[in-house]
Structure formats: structure tokens, C-alpha cells
């Protein structure tokens, strides 16, 4: 029954989108200056239906309706309710429904929140957005329908991958989708702007907050994903330059470039076409990422063959998007005849964009290159963390210096009368850096440079912050975001440099010591839970120098449905450091492999990213006030 209801809702959504496109077109042709009331009403109905559709699927998961193939494949009656619900978007089909929700809601919100912009611009945005919605609806209906039914109805489902049975699954995908699916709205707006020749300042104004919103959620989504990877995957890192991670980072670079160049468009009416290009590539990259992840092309070229229809559909959709927008762009392109002085804020924004494009293209090349070598030479290569660190890190150093100096430059024409000030900052950064190095006694040239440049940015932003409090007219949102980014790089640098990693093979009762630590495997405990069994290790870690003792309990879990073995790390977090411990059995013997890590300042990495986002949201509130 739920299957029928879901399908009916999906079909009516197709009809509603078509109706909206039809009425919008009528409205554009009509001479009236306002948008037909029924367009608002249908949009509202459309948003309501899409939520109804989603709740239908959630309901199917909650009552474990295995007449739906999707529920059968991804759920199980013995699973806790919370994971039944979050499992709804933990699979390909369900997550596509989340895509549609965000496409639809953003389309509706953009329509009602942009009253003061021209009618045709808003209507074309609505039309393009509904074409995108239709594209994804057809994909769902013909290829990835979560409401397909199954008969005879199985008694029990196959269960959800244990790694996904985590609170993070409930929030990580929705946050990321708000980010990169949210970017669809300025993709549509950019095309509408090209069609209606609605350009310059007012265009920048209409999409500014949407860019900030999607950027903020994208950043939060990446943050939650990193934290999840940190505690779940059990190797103590939070970023692995994995292709799927890269796919979420690519639109982030484009968004970051976009929200900076929008400033130039808003203040100086410059870079209009570049802003359009960025709007277009942000969403294009989001769809590309989805294509790469969903088609399975990234993990191995061979799984592409096992489900070619999925990949081919997204690929054709993507090509239409790219060629369509490219054609329109070339058609409308005209030269800008305004001046950029080499020493001005505009130049610094361009420099920001230059670096963002460098990061973006580097990550893109690194992600795609293995596919090319595999296809062309039949040789599989890996492009992993050491590659990205080698190529990107040295450039980040230069980038941070620009990031500190840039905001100080004035619009149009600037003179640097504050070189002495920067020299002083640099000197302070050097002093702090060398005291850190002296204190911890471990470093390389590159890590010194990273620390120095991030300190330079922090100090420079810090004095801005002091200034802004004194004069109460400085740009607080920007200062917070920039200082947080400086801290982020600093903490990652310090964390990377001063982490300690040791591993031992030990039996119950054994004690091992290293540096000024002593570690003892006291005992093992076997516990049975609702849907898994766990072997829980009881380990004592003693810091001899500080006379401090901690107990950590890493686990080895055996899940029932589907039967899987997972390792749960034990983490003790405080403001200065994390202890991170994992345990695994060696060949079913009495020996256990214990891996101990001390990770300094871990929590500050998360806090820095949260503050970075806070800066972005602060800007939205400020914008709202001005309007």
C-alpha cells in the first residue's frame, strides 16, 4: 500500500513540476508585472507533496514494510527505531529522495524570498529549477525508485551496514545535501540571469545569502563526516583524500571562490561572467561528484559495468547541463570594460579565486587520474594523501599570507602604508613558531612554514578583531571566518607534527612502556547487545611524568544482520589532547594488537571549523538586517 502511495506522490510531483513550468511560461508572456498567485500555490503544494513522499518512505521503514525492495534491502526488524529512520537516506534510492526535497524546498523559498527582484528573473529561475527537479524525478522513477514493490513479501530484511548505524548518519548526509544540492538554486538563478540579462549588483544581491547558506551547510556536512570518520573508522585520522571525500570538497572550493567574487560584483559591478561561471560549476561539480560516487566508477572501473544505467543516466544529464549552460554563456558573453588596479581589494579577491581554482583542479586531477591510467594503460594507480600533501601544502603557505593581507586592502585603489605592521606580525609569528618548536622539539621545514603562515593570519585577524571591538565598524563575520581558518590550519599542522603513534602485540595482563607512558591490558569482557556482540578491552594508560591514569575501552563488535566485524576505537578527549586506542585480535590467538595514539589539540580542529561556519552564518544575519 505504501508503495502505491509513494508512486502516486512521485507521479503527481512530475505533473506539478510540469504545471509550474507551464504557468511560469504563461506568466512571463503576460504583460502583468506580478507573478500569478497560483504559481505560489502550486509551488507550496509541490513542497508539501515532496515531504509527504519522504514521510511515506520513512513510514515504510518504521513499520518494516518489506513489500518495498528498498526497505527489504536496507532494514531489519531488530534494528533500533532511530536507525530504521536514519536508514531511509542511508542508501542510494532514499538519498535521491532527499535530493528532490532540497531541490524543491529551495525552489519554493527562493521564489517567496526574492519579492523585490524582477518577475521574469524569478520565473526563469523557477523554470530551470523545475527542469532540474524533473531530471532527478525521472531518474528516480525509471532507475532508482525507492517505492518498487516485491512479492512474495519476505519475512525479514537484509539489515543496514553496521558502520552506518550511527547518529552521524542521521545528520551528515542531510547537511551535505543542503550544501551541494542547495547550490542548484544559484545554478538556476545564473541561467535565469543570463536569459533575462539581469546582471550586476542586484543579481549578486539576490543569490548572496543562498551561496552563504549552501557554503555553511557544506562545511558543516564535511565537518560531521570528518568527525564520524575519526571515531568510526579506527585509524585516528579524519581526512584521507578518499575519492568520495574529494567529491564533497570540489564544490566547496567553488563555493568559497564564489562567495568572495560576489563581493566584487556587489561592490564594483565587476567579474559578472566569472561569477556566473562559478555558479554553474558549483552545481555541476556536485552532480559530477554524485555521478562518480553512485556509478561506482571511482572505487573500481569494473563496478561501472555492473550498474551502467545509473551512471549513464547521470552522465547524460550532466552533459546536457554542461553543454546547455556553456552554449548560453558563450552566446551572452560580452567584454567588461572596467578597471582593476593591480593594488586593490579586487586583485586580492582574484588571488583568492586563483588559489581556490588551483586546489579544485588539483583535487579533480588527482581524483580522476587513476580512471584515465586504468582506461588508457590498464594500469591502476593510487593517488593518496602523500600526493595531495606534497602538491597542496606549500601553496597553502603562500595562500595564508595573502589571506591575511587581502582584507586590509581598499577597494578600487590601495596603497600599502602598513608594511611595518606586517613585518611586526611576521616577526611575532616567527617567535611563536620557534617557541613551539623549541618546546616540542620536532618539525620539518614545511611544517615550520605552515605554522608561521597560519600564525601570521591569526595575528593579523586578531588585531582586526580588537579593532572591530574598539571601533565597532569592522567586518566581524569575515574576521571570525579568517581567524578560524588560520586556527584550523595551525591545529592541523600541530596535530600532524606532534601526534604519537605506537602499536604493540600483547596478552591479557601484560604491561608495555614507552616514552613516559605505561599501558596495560587488564582484562577482556564479552557482552551481548540487541543487535551485536562485543569483546570489550579494559586498558589502563599511565602517564608516568604527570602521574595521570586513564582507562580506555576499545571494542571488537560482531553484528548479526548482516554479519560484520567492526572495531570501535576508545577515545578520551580533553582540551589539550585525545587518546585514541584500537584493539584487534591476531589470528584468533590470545594476542591482541593494540594501537595507541596521542593526538594533540584534536577538539580544536572541530571547533575551528564550527567557528568558520559561524562566521558565514553571522554574515547572513547581517545581510538580513541590511535588507
Amino acid at each position: 500500500m505504501l508503495s502505491n502511495l509513494g508512486n502516486i506522490l512521485l507521479f503527481s510531483k512530475v505533473l506539478l513540476s510540469l504545471t509550474i513550468i507551464y504557468f511560469s511560461y504563461q506568466c512571463i508572456k503576460s504583460s502583468r508585472e506580478i507573478i500569478f498567485k497560483k504559481i505560489y500555490q502550486i509551488s507550496l503544494l509541490q513542497s508539501t507533496l515532496v515531504l509527504g513522499c519522504f514521510f511515506t518512505l520513512i513510514a515504510a521503514y518504521v513499520v518494516s514494510d518489506f513489500s518495498l525492495i528498498n526497505v527489504y534491502q536496507n532494514s531489519h526488524t531488530a534494528k533500533p527505531l532511530f536507525y530504521k529512520i536514519s536508514g531511509t537516506w542511508g542508501n542510494h534510492e532514499g538519498s535521491l529522495l532527499l535530493w528532490i526535497i532540497i531541490l524543491t524546498l529551495f525552489s519554493f523559498l527562493f521564489l517567496i524570498y526574492n519579492n523585490n527582484h524582477p518577475k521574469n528573473y524569478r520565473l526563469y529561475t523557477l523554470i530551470i529549477q523545475n527542469i532540474l527537479i524533473l531530471g532527478f524525478l525521472f531518474f528516480i522513477l525509471f532507475n532508482s525508485n525507492p517505492f518498487l514493490s516485491l512479492s512474495p513479501i519476505p519475512k525479514e530484511g537484509l539489515g543496514l551496514n553496521p558502520i552506518l548505524q550511527d547518529p552521524a548518519l542521521a545528520i551528515h548526509p542531510p547537511l551535505l545535501y543542503l550544501g551541494f544540492v542547495g547550490s542548484s538554486i544559484y545554478f538556476s538563478a545564473a541561467i535565469a540571469s543570463l536569459i533575462t540579462n539581469y546582471s550586476e549588483k542586484s543579481f549578486a544581491f539576490s543569490i548572496k545569502n543562498w551561496v552563504l547558506i549552501s557554503w555553511g551547510f557544506q562545511t558543516l556536512g564535511i565537518l560531521v563526516g570528518s568527525i564520524w570518520a575519526y571515531y568510526e573508522l579506527g585509524w585516528g585520522g579524519f581526512w584521507f583524500w578518499d575519492p568520495v571525500e574529494n567529491a564533497s570538497l570540489l564544490p566547496w572550493f567553488a563555493m568559497t571562490a564564489l562567495l568572495h567574487s560576489l563581493l566584487v560584483l556587489e561592490k564594483r559591478n565587476l567579474l559578472y561572467f566569472w561569477v556566473i561561471v562559478l555558479c554553474l560549476i558549483t552545481f555541476t561539480l556536485s552532480v559530477t561528484g554524485t555521478f562518480l560516487v553512485r556509478s561506482g566508477i571511482l572505487n573500481s572501473v569494473h563496478t561501472f559495468a555492473s550498474d551502467p544505467s545509473r551512471g549513464i543516466y547521470i552522465l547524460s544529464f550532466l552533459s546536457v547541463m554542461i553543454f546547455g549552460s556553456l552554449f548560453l554563456l558563450l552566446n551572452k558573453y560580452r567584454k567588461e570594460n572596467k578597471l582593476i588596479y593591480s593594488n586593490s581589494k579586487e586583485t586580492f579577491v582574484l588571488i583568492n579565486n586563483w588559489f581556490m581554482m588551483f586546489y579544485l583542479l588539483t583535487v579533480l586531477v588527482g581524483t580522476l587520474y587513476p580512471i584515465f591510467t586504468d582506461v588508457l594503460t590498464n594500469n591502476k594507480i593510487s593517488v593518496g594523501p602523500p600526493f595531495y600533501n606534497t602538491v597542496i601544502l606549500p601553496v597553502v603557505v603562500i595562500f595564508l599570507f595573502f589571506m591575511a593581507i587581502g582584507p586590509k586592502a581598499k577597494w578600487v585603489k590601495n596603497r600599502f602604508d602598513n608594511l611595518g605592521y606586517f613585518a611586526l606580525l611576521l616577526f611575532l609569528a616567527l617567535v611563536v613558531n620557534f617557541s613551539i618548536i623549541y618546546f616540542f622539539k620536532s618539525s620539518t621545514i614545511l611544517s615550520n612554514l605552515v605554522i608561521i603562515s597560519s600564525l601570521f593570519l591569526i595575528l593579523s585577524s586578531f588585531f582586526d578583531l580588537v579593532n572591530s571591538i574598539l571601533k565597532s565598524r569592522f567586518d566581524l563575520a569575515r574576521t571570525i571566518s579568517h581567524i578560524s581558518f588560520g586556527f584550523l590550519v595551525l591545529f592541523i599542522g600541530l596535530n600532524h607534527n606532534f601526534s604519537i603513534e605506537k602499536d604493540f602485540n600483547m596478552k591479557v595482563g601484560e604491561v608495555k612502556s614507552f616514552d613516559n607512558y605505561e599501558i596495560q591490558l587488564q582484562n577482556l569482557e564479552l557482552k551481548t547487545y540487541n543487535n551485536y556482540k562485543a569483546i570489550i578491552g579494559n586498558l589502563k594508560i599511565k602517564n608516568i611524568l604527570l602521574k595521570e591514569e586513564r582507562t580506555l575501552n576499545p571494542e571488537i563488535r560482531i553484528y548479526d544482520n548482516p554479519e560484520t566485524l567492526t572495531y570501535e576505537a576508545a577515545i578520551k578527549t580533553n582540551l589539550i589532547k585525545d587518546y585514541y586506542l584500537t584493539m584487534s585480535n591476531i589470528d584468533r590467538s590470545e594476542f591482541y594488537n593494540i594501537k595507541f595514539q596521542k593526538k594533540p589539540l584534536m577538539i580544536w580542529i572541530w571547533i575551528s571549523v564550527a567557528m568558520l561556519v559561524f562566521g558565514g552564518f553571522l554574515r547572513i544575519f547581517k545581510n538580513a538586517k541590511i535588507n
Binding site: 578597471l339 591502476k380 593518496g384 602523500p386 602538491v391 620539518t444
Partner: protein, 122 residues
């Protein structure tokens, strides 16, 4: 004073470098090798039997006095290039290493050109 500062930087760089290099070397190699039986983990990060075996092999190779590069070549010959995370610079991977820097330089030139052209018009 300036000279003293440079001297200080110099000393700190090199004392710290030599002290640390040996202990870091092994871990750096582990981090650069993929655990072939895991999902996106390096040898250093993995608990698997495969990782344990590779660690022992690498230890032996270091004992034999093999350099880092020789160890990678050995591993690549045995398991294919897939096992190395940092692709070696050769004909096949030339574009991978070259393109990012080409973008960096190209982007810089575009900005330079943009600004210069605008200046000439004034």
C-alpha cells in the same frame, strides 16, 4: 641581529631534522603503502593481517639497507602501482604531477594579464 636570527633558524631546522628523520622514515613508508585488503586505509592505519605482513617485510628491507625508493619499487613490482599512494614521477604519471603546477602558473598569468591590460587602458 638579523644574522643571529637566520643562524637560529638554520640551527633549529637542521638539528631537528637529523634527530627525527630516522624514526619518521619507517612510518612515512607505512603511510605511503595501501592496505590492499582494506577500504581506503594505509598499511600504517590498518589492523589487518596483510598490513602486519607488509610491515614485517618493510622492516626486513630497511635492515638490508634498502632506500625508501627501492622499497617502493620492490612493492610496486610485487603488487602493482596500486599499492603506492604517492605515484612515482614517470612518463605515465607525468601529467598528474605537471597539471596542478600548470594551473597554478596559468592562473597567475591570467590575473597578471587582466590587471595589466586594464592598467594600459587608463
Amino acid at each position: 641581529m638579523k644574522n643571529n636570527l637566520f643562524f637560529l633558524i638554520f640551527v633549529i631546522f637542521f638539528t631537528s631534522l637529523s634527530a627525527q628523520e630516522k624514526s619518521m622514515e619507517k612510518n612515512k613508508i607505512f603511510k605511503n603503502l595501501r592496505c590492499l585488503v582494506c577500504q581506503g586505509q594505509s598499511i600504517s592505519d590498518s589492523n589487518s593481517d596483510f598490513a602486519q605482513t607488509v610491515k614485517l617485510v618493510v622492516n626486513d628491507l630497511i635492515e638490508e639497507g634498502k632506500t625508501e625508493e627501492e622499497i617502493y619499487s620492490f612493492m610496486a613490482e610485487k603488487y602493482g602501482d596500486w599499492i603506492i599512494y604517492k605515484p612515482q614521477l614517470n612518463r605515465q604519471n607525468f601529467m598528474l604531477w605537471f597539471l596542478p603546477y600548470a594551473f597554478l602558473i596559468g592562473g597567475g598569468l591570467i590575473i597578471f594579464y587582466l590587471i595589466r591590460k586594464k592598467r594600459e587602458k587608463t
